[in-house]
Symmetry: C2
Subunit: 495 residues, 2 copies
């Protein structure tokens, strides 16, 4: 795999000087078109052997192109703040917007490769880590990003030679650290593990480009030409791909029994009993939030439901139980321009809670498989693959000690009508009802089948959906509080 | 995930009787179109909880459709013979040809799920196993197959109820085994692990369909309708998909230095020295093949090279070293009709060696990234993804104690010309030279860059390419023998 990058490729000064001006001009032109059209973003992942010139390649990018539209992200070791979030959070944060170029420097792969070389993980754990990276990259590609992966390579001998040269010169001596020599000692292992990593993560739409890194001229020309050609190629392609649909997006229902229409909507609660239970469960929730163990966890609560099902009222009862510094409510409505310029999950990665915090989502990432699906706001293949992406996303949260609680507040069609009418006639509630609500109501059955699919595909043992019978608001609120308490208690017991 | 399949779906006799005739007719029609067009194959994977009616579903398929075009594969535990081949071999063997329906019953997933439930593997090993299955399924989908995955589900209570009912009846008592009750005891674990498996392996083009399996009418209608709709959907789709090409298939070369043109083609060997070395290395190879440890291994040798590079001559020198019962040479030329009706790797899975055997491939699966690429015999995206598929394939061989040795026999353009001419003038060699050889020669540079890409992407530490300098036939043959000996010795030492 690395054979071609151990041949000692060298470009002489003269032919370098000859090629560079035209190449830079073309690169700038392509970048200009990218910025102008802002149709997609470019993600460049730079990895490779120590001393192969990874940093220099990034300098080259910034020098040869317009650096205002390039952002470099060299995460280094995870900080205390990073550690509060799932490992991928750092990369989601740093994703470039459409029209921009984002460079990930010594990111994603280095951590996994080093961990394997230094025997902190075994091969199956390495494969697991690589699979997670692949899923992330696939998501980016599926969302339209152009993803590059450069492996800058250096043979064992040339690495040694490079380190010695750097050490001889007092100006560059600082660049060779003890860690570099430690790694050099383990060159053979790095070689083997890197090969496995490249093999496992190379796929058509985001292949690896292996570049010998010894001669800076060869390195610069190769990297820049690869970027240029792919950029030009992509800019010329039409906007819309026409994938072959292997299976129809919707499967037929055999009967009319489903998780939503079998939900018993009759339970209700009297005013007095409600008041008593409300105090009881809010108190219990509050005490939980003040436990020492709780400071090591995070909580994400998702509220979805029919229009007028009482999400807002339930959320208010939940937040009343907490200290105001602990929680935050994220109201999810139409995405901003900036959010539209990123993969749809990006806006949710932005809002992840830190340790000891509760983040409540009033509507959420499930919009993609609910309203966006029903209203045709995204393509079929986009919402179809969203189930898997959402499961991956939530799994990352949970692995990172976040408790994920998801509520679907269900009301009957009749109850909705009653509430809509009440809203129209009550002046202070009128803002809550719009023409859109009535339009949604017309598609009641389509929404219902989207909800059923969502529950079937994303209700998992680690992040189950709780279907809340919400025809009676008081009953629903108590059920929400109770479920939340039980989920948190369960998790605290397990830690 | 399983919520909707624990609701107790039941269809009454009357409406079942009403729906079935039309459904069967439509299914038969769709199957007829499938057979007629033979454009793609259908792979149905049936998995699920014990007692959920997996076997009955297969009876239904065979009863409702034309069973001559359906083949069922219920592998059971791996036999001694199976164990000589990689785990996936059993499934490759059983793949249906285009136009056919192949059913995999309690296959692929059951083994991994059971192993996890019974704690023979941990979560990361489970994920690794699931990833392998996913890669297999993706390959099938990419090669055009329509892949279905049905999970037949049963809640814990209904499973118990089902077993008890079966046990009460003397006619069906045999169907409930002690193992079934063992599994039932571990229902919660099966539930959890199955959920993880489904979550990890669900993707757009091969999603899971979860079906409650208690009521046979509901089960039959749901499974049959799902199959019917997807089959009709797919039959209506045009043949060719137009995928968005994210990156250009070929990357630019910065200089004209590559692994092929830097290969030193001058080494040669005198006749006498050759004879001596030939005897020496053939003897050594023979002795290796008679070692006890060798009977636990398999050997796959791949010969690729320029036309007239001397593959045949080298192969003859290799096989002379072995007992005739031990080796077999597979000459790979144009695929047969049957081979064309399967994914391209299928024809090679057919020819895997058993234990203690040597299988020599005169040209190989690399045809896809060499001649098929250069001659445009497959689409760009097909040969682009082939690198990864080939790496996966070889990894499976190696994990299964097969030694994989790959030779590229390289000659210069001038030497090839000399040999072509000699073939034309030597009567007994004339059959060896065709118009196609001359045509290939015209594309020398394209072939060369295909070879370089092949080496870069598929020369791995576990299955490296050996580039053989073959301008001198004697030198080449000795190098082949020597390399083969070293590879086998290396592996025998490690076992």
């Amino acid at each position: 795999m690395f054979e071609a990058a151990e041949l000692g490729h060298v470009i002489d000064e003269h032919s370098y000087a000859e090629q560079v001006p035209k190449l830079r001009e073309n690169l700038l032109d392509a970048q200009f078109d990218l910025v102008e059209s802002s149709r997609f973003e470019v993600v460049i992942i730079i990895a490779g052997m120590d001393g192969a010139g990874k940093g220099e390649v990034i300098h080259m990018f910034n020098e040869w192109m317009d650096p205002r539209h390039i952002q470099t992200h060299a995460p280094g070791a995870r900080t205390e703040a990073d550690r509060e979030k799932p490992p991928m959070w750092r990369y989601w944060r740093a994703l470039p917007a459409k029209g921009k170029i984002g460079i990930f420097f010594d990111a994603l792969y280095s951590e996994a490769i080093s961990a394997r070389v230094y025997k902190q993980i075994d091969n199956s754990e390495l494969d697991q880590a690589l699979d997670r990276i692949s899923r992330f990259e696939r998501l980016l590609v599926d969302e339209g990003a152009l993803v590059f992966k450069f492996w800058l390579h250096l043979s064992e001998n040339l690495q040694k030679q490079r380190f010695k040269t750097l050490e001889k010169n007092p100006q560059t001596r600082w660049r060779v650290t003890a860690k570099d020599w430690d790694n050099h000692e383990r060159y053979a292992q790095f070689h083997r593990v890197a090969e496995r990593a490249l093999r496992q993560t190379s796929f058509n739409d985001a292949p690896w480009t292996i570049v010998e890194g010894y001669d800076f001229r060869y390195r610069n020309l190769t990297v820049a030409n690869t970027l240029l050609q792919a950029l030009q190629h992509r800019l010329q392609q039409s906007r819309v791909a026409v994938p072959l649909q292997h299976v129809p997006p919707e499967t037929p229902a055999t009967d009319d029994v489903n998780v939503i229409n079998t939900l018993d909507l009759t339970p209700s609660l009297g005013k007095k009993a409600y008041q008593k239970k409300l105090l009881k469960w809010q108190g219990r929730l509050n005490r939980l939030s003040r436990k020492k163990k709780f400071t090591g966890m995070s909580v994400v609560v998702v509220f979805e439901g029919n229009d007028a099902a009482g999400k807002g009222g339930s959320i208010r009862r939940v937040i009343n139980a907490f200290d105001a510094r602990q929680y935050q409510v994220v109201l999810v409505s139409a995405p901003t321009d900036e959010e539209l310029a990123h993969p749809y999950l990006w806006r949710f990665w932005r809002h992840l809670p830190g340790r000891g915090k509760i983040r409540i989502f009033d509507r959420s990432w499930y919009g993609r498989v609910l309203v966006e699906r029903v209203e045709g706001l995204c393509r079929e293949e986009d919402w179809m693959r969203a189930y898997g992406e959402i499961n991956d996303f939530e799994e990352q949260l949970i692995r990172n000690r976040t408790i994920v609680v998801k509520f679907w507040l269900a009301i009957s069609k009749e109850e909705q009508l009653r509430r809509f009418k009440a809203r129209e006639t009550t002046p202070f509630k009128r803002f809550k009802i719009t023409a859109e609500d009535w339009r949604n109501r017309d598609k009641w059955e389509k929404h219902e089948s989207a909800v059923c699919d969502m529950v079937e595909r994303t209700s998992t043992e680690i992040a189950p959906w709780t279907l809340v019978s919400a025809n009676d608001k008081r009953y629903a609120r108590i059920m929400v509080l109770k479920t939340l308490c039980h989920c948190i208690e369960n998790q605290l017991r397990q830690r």
